[in-house]
Point group: C2
Chain length 411, copies 2
């Protein structure tokens, strides 16, 4: 259903360059990391974009993330592998806002995407571009949800996939991978151990590595979270954005959207303060930010109920930290007990059942308000990165069973 | 985020009338069933709607179901209880279409809604209107998903809810109800037994009955599935619509949308053939349709993996059957094994993980094409009513566990 208006190109992708050493690369062939070991970033002909496209023109397009196709890396509509993803709602949280003393509190709800998480954004763009460049087989490690998304979009594209996840990852994404027909392996370890298995399949079995930031296009899909948010606010930015941070692609993507929209003149010069939220049991970015370091150190014995952000050492850590410093944001860790409490409170007050990673951001908002880092006047946007449906075990259910003919007890 | 343009009313709700005996009722106070025992239907001042609103005007509004507010029963934007639901994607299924010899096959994916199913549509409208009319406590029986939706939207609205579901209903909706803070009971029996418990709470504990079709506004939310589909097709209808049918509100709602849009002149006179899909283990509507009956008989020993459509006797059966006859549609039953096969095939070819109820419609499409009831030239729209994520147990997962340092075996 993705189409192109007359005139202009579908994509203004121009080249890739290294996020660390700025060396440039050809975007017309599959590329992995830079020779220096850092991720490559997609760069666009922004003058071309500005001439071909405008916020007004985008506003007349279908409500999915491919409305931003000029700023995405796929060269023609026919190459797009889509399940209709994007334009997730920006939901006002009035009742929770009163409780947290944040009267302008909003949630961008990424649970309303195919496969149930924001990972669908990276998958639709990454898979589309991979297939367009001739890739046939993909391999990746995952904490669960990215695997579900890439397995699903891979199936739709007719690609083979090999997905490797920790044996302790949540169960439901296994079903998503399995029914999509991917080769699924569990490993006794964390995501780094899963990464070693995927790397082996890449080296020995002809798979293309689509691990976090090891190919340049997943990030472009994640970038659309920023584009949508700015558009939903009328092409402006909020005061603060809170994002749960594991590998960090979401936050890096939002920051990239910010830079591109500024260069295009689609938004003003104001920067939102970006907040990386981690769990106390795995907080390498928080530690690095507190020390004003440029990179993080691997976190030992990582463990949290917010499994999706259990990433002891992110390949893109320097990009995350750069975004935090540049926007005068911060990084903050929250305890698992506070995550579960925030998840329950949000559901009870606002009717939204969010994933633990999203709930972590609400717990963080409460801490940041208490410390006055968040002001009462701040317009605050929290990203919920996935639906709570994927995590039924985070809820304790008390439901009496009634026999036939038995009535509900008086309340 | 729901707003109103200048001029015109937000809703053109005029009155209610009985779906069977046509007796009229005041829409400004809470109403249940007609005195004759049949459901009440919301009626609008369609001349007023036509004067205030047009497809073009609707096209400029936010991509959620409240864009159709003139045709919904809530009188002002401030009364709307929304989580940003609606405008679910209409996804082309090219690869499955080739396999089924249905080159114009589409899926309207209702999995991308808050709480994971189409039930969110009924809940946002039903809860908004209930609160607007002064309701404080709601009670309902459910096969799971409606309960999850009404508990969630009820929490957002600050209403108390009492939800009753069969003990054999899927597990995840229990977590959704529990975290939203509703009173949840399980009953040893089917939805009729749950209905008896809810009715008791209504009679003795001051709850308002929001069971299927026992209040008139859930149906109005479901109607938006039709409105969205027609709009997404450029304000026209497809040749055939397949819908999984338990209580039947979805199908009745789509038919109501069809009638209203025709009267408004927003679509032409062409009718889509409506197909009610049931499971072989609970197919009262199919039996009635085969006998050209006006009502169904209660199905004995109902049982199917598609638990959401395990409804032995629907209150609105005569409305469902009327819609099938009027559109020259049909009713068809499919076996559980075919449901699971269709679910797996759709995931493998199209990357979409659907609920068993949605999968039933794909199994039905295959049967109807084989019998030539569906023609190759038909434009066919299948409604997937919920995400497969809610049903992980329908998938058999084979995932070897690798030890530390172990590689994935060669493929």
């Amino acid at each position: 259903m993705v189409s192109q208006e007359k005139g202009g190109r579908f994509s203004y992708l121009d080249h890739l360059d290294c996020g660390r050493c700025a060396k440039t690369y050809d975007a017309d062939v599959p590329q992995g990391l830079c020779g220096c070991g850092a991720p490559l970033l997609a760069r666009y002909d922004l003058d071309g974009v500005a001439a071909a496209c405008s916020p007004q023109r985008i506003g007349s397009r279908s409500p999915d993330l491919w409305r931003y196709h000029e700023l995405l890396p796929v060269s023609c509509p026919e190459a797009v592998v889509t399940l209709g993803e994007g334009m997730t709602p920006l939901v006002p949280l009035v009742r929770l806002g009163v409780e947290l003393d944040l009267p302008q509190l909003f949630m961008k709800d990424e649970g309303l995407l195919p496969t149930g998480t924001f990972k669908a954004r990276g998958a639709t763009v990454g898979i589309s571009r991979a297939r367009e460049l001739g890739v046939k087989r993909i391999a990746m490690p995952t904490n669960g949800n990215a695997g579900a998304a890439w397995a699903s979009y891979g199936a739709r594209a007719g690609l083979e996939s090999l997905i490797v996840m920790p044996v302790d990852a949540p169960n439901i994404p296994r079903a998503e991978c399995a029914i999509a027909g991917s080769r699924l392996y569990l490993v006794d370890g964390l995501i780094g151990d899963a990464g070693a298995v995927a790397a082996g399949a890449v080296a020995n079995q002809g798979y293309t590595d689509v691990s976090t930031l090891k190919e340049p296009y997943r990030l472009e899909g994640k970038k659309t979270m920023g584009l949508e948010l700015f558009e939903q606010l009328g092409w402006r930015v909020p005061d603060v954005i809170l994002y749960p941070t594991g590998g960090g692609v979401g936050l890096i993507g939002i920051y990239k959207a910010l830079q591109e929209c500024m260069q295009l003149g689609w938004i003003g010069p104001k920067l939102p303060r970006l907040v990386a939220v981690q769990a106390s049991g795995c907080a390498p970015i928080v530690k690095a930010w507190e020390e004003r370091a440029e990179v993080s150190l691997a976190w030992a014995n990582a463990s949290t109920i917010a499994f999706g952000i259990t990433v002891p050492k992110a390949l893109g850590d320097f990009l995350i930290l750069r975004a935090l410093y540049a926007t005068e944001g911060c990084a903050i860790a929250v305890d698992d007990s506070d995550i579960l409490a925030a998840q329950a409170r949000l559901a009870a007050l606002e009717g939204a059942f969010v994933c633990p990673e999203g709930a972590a951001c609400f717990a963080a908002a409460q801490k940041l308000r208490a410390s006055e880092w968040l002001r009462r006047s701040d317009e605050v946007v929290v990203f919920n990165t996935g639906t709570g449906i994927l995590y039924p075990d985070t809820v304790r259910v008390e439901a009496p069973v009634l026999g036939k003919g038995e009535a509900a007890p008086l309340n």
